[in-house]
Each structure stands twice: as structure tokens, then as C-alpha cells.
């Protein structure tokens, strides 16, 4: 039996025991003042805290700048997907990039809470809804026409304040052990048929799903959208927290179909191999269920580095970055002349509905509808 290691712990404890009150007060005060306790050795990421001036009144603008010239990006797109892109941009432009990753909606809420003191220069969002929320509050600044013109009209903001950077198609993922394509209806409305009872999976809290419901309302009207939601509800769908788990549910056979975005399949194939028992099915004839959405970005009105942010947007819309989206995230490049990855159904082959993404900003209405129909 070894019994010596505790000795050290014991003496450390005794030390702590003797001095805990002064330590407590210092730590508390430091925490209360927001100084990093135990100094700056926190390392690489802790910025130098600027000397506090007498009142602490808004010397904020300079103090918040994390190092001269660094571009601060709030990214709702995950680190796994976009970090290499940021690194590439840093290498090519020589501009230092600092990224805060988070959930798209939560970062949008954060920017709204931060108000004019937001350290963010650029907001990189998963879906147009969050960009719309910032647009409504006047938090995005107009982009130059040539930036906007890089992508087709319906993939950018009407007000010219954000631009789509990559596209994602809504699809029906189906279990290949249970179904073949010919078993699936042409339209999303086919799934309200009672034969689908207990076989459908969806993720109603997901931004892309909600954008689809908004499109349904815009394209077909409020009543049809309500009918569809009620019809699916009547078929007792499985509720998943997100697209990824919904697709897993399809693969395990928990459900036979799920309404998800197209690219999750390709990641699953890469991770789990070709025998992954699920595939994508694209609805036909301009069905709302075949909507193509976009991830996008906008520059904040309070940006301290608007030029750097603009260079990043230019980079994101360059052929190189568009290729990255196509090959690495399996999304659709939006800039003309860049083809999607091999095996991904071409954008031109998708019979998607014609709807302007910036018309999909009535999220509040969608949320109310989802709540009234008991979906949320």
C-alpha cells in the first residue's frame, strides 16, 4: 500500500487553510473586476487587459479591440467545418482572425445583447433566419454590389446586407433497408398520408427546418402550411433535436424517413462507410420540400475592422473557398463555375421552388404556427 502521495496534498491544504481568507478576498475581487486571476499566463488567448481609466466609462471601443487589426468573427458554423477556411484566409491575407464558435441563434442573441459594444466584425451564420434577425435590428451594414453579385439573387439579402456563401438542400433521408426511391412521394404533402404513421422523423427546432416551414407559408399560404404540419403531427413523427440525430435515426431504422439537409449523409458515409443504410431523396416539381437554403455572412454595423471583414467575404466567395465548401462540407458552391463534389446531386438537377431567401425572415410567424399546431 502506498501512502505517501497525500502528504503533499495535505500540506497544500494546510497552506490553503491558513490563508484562505486573503486568497478568497483577492480572488473574489479579481473575479468581480474581471481580471484573470493569477495573471496573464492564461496564455495565447487572453488579451492584454488595458489599464483601466478613472471611471471605466466607455473607453470600450479601443479596449475591446483584441490586438490591432485582428478580424473577429462570430461563427455559427462549426469549427470542424470552417476552421481550415479561416486558416487559409489568414495565410493568404496576413490578417489575424479570431473566431468565436457557437450556435447560430445564440450568437445572434449575443450580438443583440452586446449592442454597440459588440467585439464582432463579421457574423457567419448557418441559416438566413439569424441574419434576418440582425437585419431587422439594423445591425448589418450594406455590402458592395460586386460582392452581392457573386451569387444568384435569391441567395442574398434584399437589403444588400448579407450574402449567401454556400447552399444546402432540404432532402428526405430514407432508410435503404426499408424503402427504395420509388416508394417515396413526389411531394412533401405525400407524407401526410396515414401510411407514413410512425415512420417520419423531423427536427422542428432546427433552423433549416423552420426556414422550410417559412418557405411553405410563403409559397403555399398559411392554411396549407398549417394543414401540412397538422397532417404530419397526425402521423406521430419522431422529434429529433437536430438533423444529425434525425439522420442517425433513419440509419438505425428508428424511423424510415426524415426531413433533413443534404450534406449530413456525405459526412456519415465518410465516417461510417458506404454501407451506411440511408440515402437522400430529392422531392420533385418545385416542391417546397426541395428548398435550397444558404449559409451566409454579414458585416456588423459596429465592426471595427470592416475592411478586413470585407476581405474575408471576398475570400469566402472566391473560387478556392467555394471549392472548399463543395469538397469538404459537401455543400453547394453558390458562385458560378464551381461544381459540387462528386456524388452530390447537382444544384441544377434539384427541382427546387423559387423563393427569395430574404423573404424567409418571418421566423416569429413560423414559430407561432409551430406552437399553435403543437409541433414545438
Amino acid at each position: 500500500m502506498s501512502r505517501r502521495p497525500p502528504q503533499k496534498v495535505q500540506s497544500a491544504l494546510r497552506f490553503l487553510g491558513r490563508f484562505w481568507i486573503p486568497i478568497a478576498l483577492t480572488a473574489l475581487l479579481m473575479a468581480a473586476c474581471g481580471q484573470p486571476p493569477s495573471g496573464q499566463d492564461a496564455g495565447e488567448t487572453t488579451e492584454e487587459t488595458t489599464e483601466e481609466t478613472t471611471t471605466g466609462e466607455t473607453t470600450a471601443q479601443e479596449a475591446l479591440t483584441p490586438g490591432e487589426g485582428a478580424l473577429v468573427i462570430y461563427s455559427g458554423r462549426s469549427q470542424e467545418l470552417v476552421e481550415p477556411l479561416f486558416e487559409q484566409f489568414e495565410d493568404e491575407s496576413g490578417i489575424e482572425v479570431q473566431v468565436r464558435y457557437g450556435d447560430t441563434a445564440e450568437l445572434a442573441a449575443t450580438i443583440l445583447e452586446e449592442g454597440e459594444n459588440s467585439p464582432a466584425d463579421l457574423f457567419f451564420a448557418q441559416d438566413p433566419g439569424a441574419l434576418g434577425a440582425l437585419t431587422d435590428e439594423g445591425r448589418l451594414r450594406p455590402l458592395p454590389q460586386e460582392t452581392l453579385d457573386r451569387v444568384p439573387e435569391h441567395f442574398r439579402s434584399d437589403d444588400g446586407v448579407w450574402v449567401g456563401t454556400s447552399g444546402r438542400a432540404r432532402v428526405v433521408a430514407y432508410n435503404t433497408d426499408e424503402l427504395s426511391e420509388s416508394d417515396l412521394p413526389d411531394s412533401i404533402f405525400g407524407f401526410t398520408d396515414p401510411e407514413w404513421e410512425g415512420k417520419i422523423g423531423w427536427a422542428p427546432t432546427n433552423g433549416s427546418f423552420q426556414a422550410f416551414v417559412t418557405a411553405l407559408r410563403v409559397l403555399e399560404g398559411e392554411d396549407v402550411a398549417r394543414e401540412w404540419l397538422e397532417g404530419i403531427q397526425a402521423n406521430d413523427p419522431f422529434v429529433y433535436p437536430d438533423n444529425a440525430t434525425a439522420l442517425e435515426g433513419v440509419a438505425t431504422g428508428e424511423v424510415e424517413v426524415a426531413f433533413v439537409n443534404h450534406y449530413y449523409l456525405y459526412q456519415a458515409l465518410e465516417e461510417q462507410g458506404e454501407d451506411f443504410p440511408a440515402r437522400n431523396y430529392y422531392l420533385k416539381n418545385g416542391d417546397p420540400g426541395a428548398l435550397v437554403l444558404a449559409a451566409g455572412a454579414g458585416i456588423l454595423d459596429t465592426a471595427q475592422n470592416p475592411e478586413a471583414a470585407q476581405s474575408f467575404l471576398d475570400f469566402a466567395l472566391s473560387e478556392e473557398a467555394q471549392r472548399y465548401f463543395a469538397d469538404e462540407t459537401y455543400e453547394y458552391p453558390l458562385v458560378e463555375g464551381v461544381e459540387p463534389a462528386e456524388g452530390v446531386v447537382a444544384l441544377s438537377k434539384i427541382q427546387s421552388p423559387r423563393v427569395d431567401l430574404s423573404n424567409l425572415d418571418d421566423l416569429q410567424g413560423t414559430l407561432e404556427l409551430l406552437q399553435e399546431t403543437g409541433v414545438l
Partner: protein, 513 residues
């Protein structure tokens, strides 16, 4: 003197509350009325209360026997069991919930195993049963750790007296031992109940429409922070009610010993050791082995498909560093609050102590956004610094340390302190050299709890850390949100492994006694 730090701590707790009031009333009273008038709001309230009650009951039922077996009996390898039984706490609920679904869900792994035996359908896991199971499995350690700490501090004299007066082993256990454990059980239960109210990961994966899920839906979908704030305030009210209830169960018992500390003789289990081992093994298998197993499976499957292993040292260091800081700050901040509550009881002391629980019952995103609001607008020099992040952790996790410290302090006899005073020590000196060391097992247990929960904390870390700061938890989250299960597995496993270290040290320390 003790009032000053305690009041400071309590004041910090008011920040999120103030934010919620500001946001709730932003659009006037009409909106508040609308949310309150909605029948669904109260259905959600009912579901949350039900969930919290079930999870708390189940946690006590699991944790108290586990704590007793690992602290007071001759159970083989009981220290190892103690570490293993505490570890499920570090399994993030968004990972644990997912694992539970893939193991026990329809067409899950268990179903596949049982199908040849003729089991066509497992009982439904979604909804209350699954959510309660997941939350119990990953939060019972709150009760386990506080109760185990208390068991080790119990004076064996009382039990011996009961036995010598003719009371049987079982009667003694229930009437003497459990009775003395009450403050610890209550403190742990409170943490479990409030955690069940605030957790989002498990309820969303297992599809249970509780309060925190509704609040998240508001933030996620509508970008309208007013209804979310109103719901969060209702959650605060519910927390206040639970705290009031808990206050009534506390009673006025004294739990300190009359004589000097003396080790207890372990209870010989005899033939009972096999069912006891089976019980420990079962709990650990479900709560720890299963998640670790599934994570390892993901990792290996990804590696086989050619997924590269990426370096995690930066994230690992950040996790340990920030969690260690948080544990230290919180343990220290909890002491004055706990001392106040135990030694100077009164309504004000009670109020201060209860205030410390407010930040804990709020879903992480609510707390994080409230500090975003205050930080960016009123303390921009501190916004998104490490200090701010630790401050957020402290507000969030303070009650974990307050509860454990309080339970330990109750076992310290005031006569020891009085003796020190009589011999000329000042009040501060007594606190530092007598009270704190005597209560050190509780203080340390509290610090360990905070460390473990900070390791997996997500919303505050994402929004309030210095830009570019990444922890193991954020890495896990970043990978799972886009379904990179293989990439999530490595940081998740490392998170669990690193968290085992302080647990191990804590248990090792016991040998010295």
C-alpha cells in the same frame, strides 16, 4: 467580517436576475400577461416539477447505498468504486443522452441483442422515462459525493451506542446513520433537482418538454428574448419554491460530534458483498461504461474509416486551467456563505445562502446571455476575458460548493472554535486555522464538484470565454452538432479521463486519515 464576502457573493447572484427583469418588461406587462395566461406554460411547469421530483428520488435511491457501500463497508476495491461512481458526473448530458438513445432506443444496441431472444419492442424511452433515466444516471453523483463526504465525518459513537442498546444493524442504519446524513442528502438532492430543471441536453435528446427546453426553443427559433426571459423568471420562482420547501426539511438538528475524530470500523458485508458488487457494477456500467464504450466505438469506427486523430492539448489545458480556477474561486467564495448559514443562522443568513442557488437553476444560456449583457455594456474591459468566464462559472456552480461545505461544517463542533477563541485567536484566525481545515473534506468535495461540472460546461464557455478559447467541451459540442461523431469521441474520452484525476486524488487523500 464574514458578512462582507458573503454579501458580495449574494450580490453577484443578483446580476442574472436583474437582467431577466429588464428583458421581461422590455415590451411592457402585456407580454408577461400573455405568457402567464397560456395554459401550455403551466403544463410545462408541471412537467418540469414532475421530472425534478422523479430524478431526485431516483438519485437518492441510487446514491445513498453507493455512498454507504464505498465509505463504510469492506466492499472489495471500494476506493476504485468510489472514483468510478462519481465519474458519471463528467459525462456531458448531450453526450450521455445520445448514448442512451443509441443504446436503449428503439432499434438501439440493446434491442439488437435482445431480438433473437424474442423481444420485439423495448419500452418507450422517449419522454419522461428516458429523460429521468438520463438525468439520474448523470447527476446522482451530486448526492453520492455529498453523502459520502458526510458519512466519513460521522461520529461512530452514536451508532455504537445504538447497537449496544440493542438496536439491530438495519434499524441503526435507518434511524441513526441516515438521520445524521439528512443535511447531506438534502444538499445533494437540491443540486440534483435544480440541475434537472436547468439541463437542456438530456431533455432535448429524449424529447421531454420541460422548462429549459422551452426556453431554448425561444432563443433558438425566435430571437425574441422577452418570452424566454419571462419563462426563465418563472423558473426562478419555481426554484425559490423548491428552496423554501428544502428549508422546511432541514430541521434544527445538530450533527457535530462531542469528542475528537475517530475512524469508524468498516461493516463486514459477508455474503452481501456479491449483491453489493452487482449493484455498484450495474450503476457504473450504465452511467459510465456504456457512454465510454459507445464513445470508444465511435472513435475506432472513425479511425478505421481513416479519420485522423487531431491534437487536443490546447483544449485539454484550457479545460483543466479554467475548471481549476473556477473550482478554487468557488470553493473559497462558498465558505463565508456556508459559515454564515451554519454559525449565524437567521433570516438574512438564510437569504444569502438561498440566493447562491439562483444562478444554478438557470439554464446555462440564460445565465450566459445575462452576463453578455452586463459585461459588454457595463464592464467592457472585462468582457470576454478569462476572469469573466470564471466569474460566470462561479455564479453558475456556487451552490455545489455551498451545499458540500455546509454539510461538512455542520459536523464541526462549535466548542472547538470556542476553545480556539478562548485561547486568544481572533475570529478570522479561527475560521482560517480551525473551521476551514476541519471542514476541509466538504470544501474539497465542493471544489471537486465544481471542477467536474465546469469541465463540461458549454453555453457560458462559448459566449464568455476569450475569443479563440477552446475547451474539450466546446470541441465535443462543435463536432456533434455537425454529426462528426468520430471527432467528438476523442475529446469526450479525454474529458472523462482528465476528470478522473481530481476524483482519484480526493479518494487517495482519504487514506491519510
Amino acid at each position: 467580517m464574514i458578512w462582507v464576502p458573503a454579501a458580495l457573493v449574494a450580490a453577484a447572484m443578483l446580476l442574472p436576475l436583474a437582467y431577466l427583469v429588464v428583458r421581461s418588461l422590455e415590451d411592457g406587462w402585456a407580454e408577461v400577461y400573455e405568457v402567464l395566461a397560456d395554459v401550455e406554460t403551466f403544463a410545462v411547469l408541471g412537467r418540469s416539477v414532475l421530472l425534478a421530483a422523479v430524478v431526485t428520488g431516483a438519485s437518492v435511491a441510487v446514491a445513498v447505498p453507493l455512498a454507504w457501500l464505498t465509505a463504510r463497508t469492506d466492499l472489495p476495491a471500494r476506493r476504485a468504486w468510489a472514483v468510478l461512481a462519481a465519474l458519471p458526473l463528467v459525462v456531458p448530458s448531450y453526450v450521455g443522452g445520445f448514448v442512451l438513445v443509441s443504446a436503449l432506443g428503439p432499434r438501439g444496441m440493446l434491442q439488437e441483442v435482445l431480438e433473437p431472444v424474442g423481444v420485439e419492442r423495448l419500452p418507450e424511452i422517449y419522454g419522461l422515462p428516458g429523460a429521468a433515466l438520463a438525468l439520474t444516471l448523470f447527476s446522482y453523483p451530486y448526492v453520492f459525493l455529498t453523502v459520502r463526504g458526510a458519512l466519513r465525518g460521522i461520529d461512530p459513537a452514536l451508532e455504537e451506542a445504538a447497537r449496544s442498546l440493542g438496536s439491530g444493524a438495519w434499524t441503526t442504519f435507518f434511524r441513526v446513520t441516515v438521520a445524521q446524513l439528512r443535511p447531506a442528502i438534502v444538499a445533494g438532492s437540491l443540486l440534483v433537482a435544480l440541475y434537472a430543471l436547468s439541463d437542456f441536453g438530456a431533455v432535448s435528446l429524449l424529447q421531454y418538454g420541460s422548462f429549459s427546453r422551452e426556453i431554448y426553443i425561444q432563443y433558438q427559433s425566435a430571437f425574441d428574448r422577452t418570452p424566454a426571459a419571462i419563462l426563465a423568471l418563472m423558473l426562478v420562482a419555481l426554484t425559490a419554491a423548491i428552496l423554501l420547501l428544502e428549508g422546511r426539511t432541514r430541521g434544527r438538528g445538530r450533527y457535530y460530534r462531542g469528542s475528537a475524530a475517530r475512524p469508524t470500523t468498516p461493516v463486514a458485508l459477508g455474503g452481501w458483498r456479491w449483491p453489493a458488487l452487482l449493484f455498484c457494477g450495474g450503476v457504473v456500467t450504465l452511467a459510465l461504461v456504456a457512454p465510454v464504450g459507445v464513445l470508444s466505438f465511435w472513435l475506432v469506427r472513425g479511425l478505421v474509416e481513416g479519420e485522423p486523430l487531431r491534437p487536443l492539448w490546447n483544449a485539454a489545458w484550457s479545460s483543466v486551467y479554467a475548471s481549476g480556477l473556477a473550482a478554487g474561486v468557488v470553493a473559497v467564495a462558498a465558505l463565508p456563505v456556508a459559515v454564515l448559514a451554519v454559525r449565524f443562522p437567521g433570516w438574512l443568513a438564510r437569504l444569502v445562502e438561498r440566493m447562491s442557488y439562483l444562478g444554478y437553476a438557470l439554464p446555462g444560456i440564460v445565465l450566459a446571455l445575462s452576463l453578455v449583457f452586463f459585461g459588454a455594456n457595463y464592464a467592457p474591459w472585462a468582457y470576454q476575458t478569462l476572469g469573466m468566464l470564471v466569474f460566470a462559472y462561479a455564479i453558475h456552480f456556487l451552490p455545489q460548493a455551498v451545499g458540500a461545505t455546509r454539510a461538512a461544517l455542520l459536523q464541526v463542533s462549535p466548542s472547538v472554535e470556542e476553545a480556539a477563541r478562548g485561547l486568544g485567536r481572533g475570529p478570522t484566525g479561527v475560521l482560517a486555522t480551525v473551521t476551514a481545515p476541519l471542514a476541509s473534506s466538504g470544501v474539497l468535495a465542493g471544489a471537486a464538484l465544481v471542477f467536474l461540472t465546469t469541465m463540461k460546461e458549454l453555453p457560458a464557455t462559448l459566449l464568455l470565454s476569450p475569443t479563440g478559447f477552446e475547451t474539450l467541451a466546446t470541441r465535443v459540442w462543435g463536432a456533434t452538432t455537425d454529426a462528426f461523431f468520430a471527432r467528438a469521441a476523442a475529446p469526450a474520452l479525454l474529458l472523462i479521463a482528465l476528470s478522473a484525476v481530481p476524483m482519484y486524488l480526493l479518494v487517495i487523500r482519504e487514506r491519510a486519515k
